[in-house]
């Protein structure tokens, strides 16, 4: 009599744990990598490394790029999109970087600003500079 309910409990708990594990792993994969096929685990790890910038920074950079290039507000600017592909010339890029400097209260060195060609690159550099600024200020 006593043995039956015990096995029942064991079964359900193990079921639960596997379900939870399965759920969390898919939760991780879908939003991070946005991968439809291929090797999701590989793609996500690569994505995490290259995407050091926070989503807020990325969004802000996208907004600045949109206003600077006078793009429609509903147009999609992906982090990997090159400024040149959006119709920006080198003068536009200078303007974008200058506006970003003001938005984030940082100063981008000239050598660095010429290496920025995508939203992702801009956001990564901004995060680095903002961190540096925050680290030096309280001291």
């Amino acid at each position: 009599m006593a043995a039956v309910p015990v096995t029942c409990v064991r079964l359900t708990t193990s079921m639960h744990t596997t379900q939870i594990v399965g759920r969390t792993s898919t939760m991780k994969l879908v939003p991070m990598g946005r991968v439809k096929s291929g090797f999701p685990s590989l793609r996500t790890s690569r994505f995490q490394i290259s995407c050091s910038a926070k989503p807020e920074t990325l969004n802000k950079v996208c907004e600045v790029v949109k206003t600077q290039l006078a793009l429609a507000s509903d147009s999609v600017v992906e982090p990997d999109t090159k400024f040149a592909a959006l119709g920006a010339d080198s003068l536009d890029t200078v303007e974008i970087v200058m506006t970003l400097e003001e938005e984030f209260g940082i100063s981008v060195e000239e050598e660095n600003s010429q290496n920025i060609t995508t939203v992702q690159e801009a956001a990564d550099l901004i995060e680095k500079l903002v961190e540096k600024k925050n680290a030096s200020e309280p001291a």
Partner: protein
């Protein structure tokens, strides 16, 4: 199109961009109204010349670079003579295109 374009800039291109950056930086120190004025003028001037002048016409580009640097220095030292400095710029280009 843009993805395949090499991002390497020539020395003179870097100089032009650096001058442009200098103008925009200097404009930040001015009042809001003057700043907008300077920015629109400078941007129009650079864009116009970028289309007007052949990219191999180094003599002309170098001349414009020198002139721009002088104008930038002037803009830096004088507090807010936006109109006089921009008028000079405009009349200069008119002389050029006519002569």
């Amino acid at each position: 199109m843009g993805a395949s374009r090499p991002q390497k800039l020539s020395g003179i291109q870097k100089q032009v961009l650096s001058l442009y950056r200098g103008f925009l930086r200097t404009a930040r120190a001015k009042t809001l109204e003057n700043r907008a004025h300077i920015e629109s003028l400078v941007s129009a001037e650079f864009r116009k010349n970028s289309e007007l002048i052949d990219r191999k016409n180094f003599l002309h580009i170098e001349y414009l670079l020198r002139r721009g640097k002088k104008q930038l220095d002037q803009l830096k030292t004088v507090d807010s003579v936006r109109l006089s400095s921009t008028n000079v710029e405009l009349s200069d280009t008119k002389q050029q295109s006519s002569g």
